[in-house]
């Protein structure tokens, strides 16, 4: 056992956050303000996600933490260790085995199921801020469903690049009501947000929580003549050969060599364990 | 068409010791369709004041100014605007236009505000400018830089481009050469022939004698000095 209260936060704080989460689930896509606490890590390292995870964790949970899809990066490792130490919960890297998954910038490739909770770390929860910096005004715009500005943002994209160049944090409309920032996940992941698991979004510095109950309708904004596309590099994973998973570009030498590999490390490992091979893996084997 | 009864006017100068200057009292004037009446009287007798009162540019002190069924002395701004648009034309001595607007558009504007298609309005304006011998290269320029005589002709074209049933002409032939003076007098006669009621100020006695059926000395409208 540890000297920390279960999952670091005191019980009153967890109650406060749970109330915010319940409200957020009741009004999908609406940003609920909450009294974000100082956490033993800097802002931008997932303080919002950590507080939300702490509020929903129970001793029986099995936790997975990913950063850009990977279980083994600094951020993921630190947060996983944080909860091992303060809550003593079991951890895993396997998506299917986890009951609570905290994520930064990705949705796992393995479809989530009922009973799982996906917690997102959110840097900037306000999708309208890009064009309207006044918080008083953006709140009014949400209240009155004045979302023309979101399309101005996409218009600017097309005017400048010939297509909608926004490739992450792609704005979505929830159940035909609130426009929401999905956190900086790649737009490839947007269609996956209509899922069976509960999705919670925590922004620590901005002190906002929002949520999507299971099977909530999530529509990516677009134009009739420039429809939304969940794009990704048009190559298979160099290691496991997956053609339908989101890929990271990895620079392999100083001569411009590169390869594309699954960003979801768990997904890639399981595929390789099942015998799938990508082009680079085959070369190595040869 | 133009029916003035018991018209009076005075100016109150608030900033000059609240001086009250009475310039007109009990003025009566009637001008029927097809008639052209010349206002006469010494300089300062109130010819221009009467014209401005009829046009609604000066606020009448008392009495009535009926033009085509509207009493200008009592009408709301909206009624006067409609009257000026459709019924009452005014050729002043001064040209007041938005700088930069080409002459042909300045002349066509009275037709455009009445809803005439642009092409038709512009061709009418051009025909009239040609008749007034304004060189075609000037049509696409703003009249603000024109000579006095040229501006005068632009003003006249603006006043005659729409067949107003009532017309006010303030020195329409001043600063014009004999040829253009003749054109303007023809225009006035044509307006009379189509039934326009005209009130004018003409210093040019010969022109006055030719187009005006009647002269009214406005000195008679001056208040009896105390």
């Amino acid at each position: 056992m540890t000297d920390y209260n279960f999952a670091y936060l005191d019980e009153q704080t967890k109650r406060m956050i749970r109330r915010a989460i319940l409200k957020a689930l009741a009004v999908p896509g609406y940003q609920v303000p909450f009294a974000s606490r100082e956490m033993p890590m800097p802002y931008g390292w997932g303080t919002g996600g950590v507080q939300v995870s702490a509020a929903v964790l129970t001793p029986e949970d099995r936790m997975k933490v990913i950063d850009q899809g990977a279980d083994d990066t600094t951020n993921a490792v630190s947060i996983r260790q944080f909860f091992e130490k303060t809550a003593g919960v079991a951890t895993t890297t396997q998506t299917a085995e986890a009951s609570v998954i905290q994520t930064r910038h990705r949705i796992p490739e393995t479809p989530l199921t009922e009973g799982q909770i996906l917690v997102y770390q959110v840097p900037i929860p306000e999708p309208l801020r890009f064009l309207e910096p006044r918080e008083t005004e953006t709140r009014k715009m949400h209240a009155l469903e004045e979302y023309g500005l979101m399309h101005v943002r996409l218009y600017e994209d097309i005017a400048r690049h010939g297509h909608i160049a926004t490739s992450y944090a792609y704005p979505v409309r929830i159940e035909g009501r609130y426009v929401m920032d999905p956190s900086p996940i790649p737009k490839f992941d947007n269609p996956k947000m209509e899922m069976a698991a509960i999705q919670l979004f925590g922004a620590g510095r901005e002190q906002r929580i929002y949520a999507l109950p299971p099977h909530t309708k999530v529509v990516s904004l677009d134009f009739d003549d420039h429809p939304f596309e969940a794009s990704k590099p048009d190559v298979p994973c160099a290691l496991c050969g997956a053609v339908d998973a989101y890929l990271d570009e990895v620079i392999t030498d100083d001569a411009g060599g590169r390869m594309f590999v699954c960003s979801d490390t768990d997904h890639c490992e399981r595929r390789r364990a099942a015998g799938h091979r990508g082009p680079v893996a085959e070369e190595d084997a040869a | 068409m133009i029916e003035i009864t018991k018209l009076s006017k005075s100016f109150l100068m608030h900033n000059q010791g609240a001086a009250r200057i009475e310039v007109m009292r009990g003025a009566d004037l009637s001008v029927g369709p097809g008639e052209c009446v010349a206002l006469t009287g010494a300089s300062g007798a109130g010819k221009s004041t009467l014209m401005r009162l009829i046009y609604g540019n000066y606020l009448a002190g008392g009495g009535a100014i009926r033009v085509g069924g509207v009493d200008v002395a009592r009408a709301s701004p909206r009624e006067i605007i409609a009257l000026r648009r459709e019924t009452l034309g005014y050729v002043s001595q001064f040209l007041r236009v938005v700088p930069r607007v080409p002459t042909r558009e300045v002349v066509a504007e009275p037709l455009l505000v009445l809803g005439m298609p642009e092409a038709k309005a512009l061709s009418r304006a051009e025909a009239l400018l040609a008749r007034l011998n304004l060189p075609a290269p000037l049509w696409s320029l703003s009249p603000t830089t024109f000579s006095g005589g040229e501006q005068q002709r632009v003003n006249i074209a603006r006043g005659f481009v729409h067949p107003y049933p009532a017309l006010l002409l303030d020195e329409p032939t001043a600063s014009l050469d004999p040829v253009n003076r003749e054109v303007v007098l023809d225009l006035i006669e044509a307006a009379k022939a189509r039934g326009a009621a005209i009130v004018g100020i003409f210093h040019d006695a010969a022109a006055r004698a030719r187009v005006c059926g009647r002269e009214v000395d406005v000195s008679a409208f001056a208040p009896v000095s105390a």
């Binding site: 399309h151 218009y155 600017e156 | 900033n15 540019n57």
Partner: protein, 256 residues
């Protein structure tokens, strides 16, 4: 004929200070009304109250809405009022930076009101923006440039295009030619006159420039200390002013 805008007994105080007091007038379709007065005369307060940017202490602002006929704008719900503000009304600020999104391209600025009212076809929005840039005499090739790269006069014209793209019926203008070079002012005035005529716009224009109202406004209200001291036909008020203050105002203009 129903007035487009019917204002009665409009008053706004800032504490003990009078903003505007007991203002009443009717504005009919196609009419342009000028409001003149010196700084602090209440003309901008009045404009803000009319446009719904400020809540007056008392009075009514009845607007003849397209869908439901005359409605009091002041007691209307905020969403309805804001909807009016981006569809049937337009507001042209003195400083184009207050009325434009400086970080957004000219095309995006013009297209915003279309997108705000549900336009979802990029090609159509862009075509409308190009058309409007042409109408306000901005080279459509500059559609993707930001307003920051435009001159003051162009910015003001862009602001007008951005406002008129939804075909509003009522335009509020606060010193639309203030801060512009004289030559640019003339061009803007010409443009506004043409648009007012072609679109049948009604407008309320606040300015301290008597030359501007003479060329643009059918009617004129003169304000002093929050009160309307004189109102009437524009050229009549300017050429035969009745109130002492108006006489002072008119006689104070420098002749060129």
């Amino acid at each position: 004929m129903t007035p487009l805008l019917s204002v009665s007994g409009l008053s706004k105080h800032y504490g003990a200070q009078i903003g505007c007091a007991d203002v009443s007038f009717d504005l009919f379709p196609g009419e342009v009304m000028g409001i003149v007065g010196e700084s602090g005369s209440g003309k901008s307060t009045l404009l803000s109250c009319l446009a719904g940017h400020l809540v007056p202490d008392s009075g009514a602002v009845i607007y003849d809405t397209r869908a439901e006929g005359p409605r009091d704008v002041i007691t209307m719900s905020e969403p309805e009022r804001r909807m009016l503000g981006r569809t049937d009304w337009a507001f042209v600020h003195q400083n184009p930076r207050d009325g434009l999104r400086m970080a957004v391209s000219a095309g995006g600025n013009v297209g915003e009101r279309l997108m705000a009212t549900g336009a979802r076809h990029y090609g159509d929005i862009r075509a409308a923006a190009e058309d409007w840039l042409g109408r306000v005499e901005i080279d459509p090739r500059r559609i993707d440039d930001r307003p920051a790269t435009f001159s003051g006069g162009m910015q003001q014209r862009l602001q007008i295009a951005r406002n008129l793209v939804t075909g509003p019926r009522l335009v509020f203008m606060d010193e639309p030619t203030g801060g512009l070079d004289v030559s640019v002012q003339a061009r803007l005035l010409d443009l506004l006159r043409g648009l007012v005529r072609q679109m049948g716009l009604s407008a309320v224009i606040v300015t301290h420039d008597l030359a501007v109202v003479r060329l643009l406004a059918d009617r004129l209200m003169v304000m002093k200390g929050g009160f309307v001291v004189e109102a009437g036909l524009t050229d009549q008020v300017l050429d035969d002013p009745q109130h002492g203050y108006t006489q002072l105002l008119v006689s104070s203009v420098l002749q060129v």
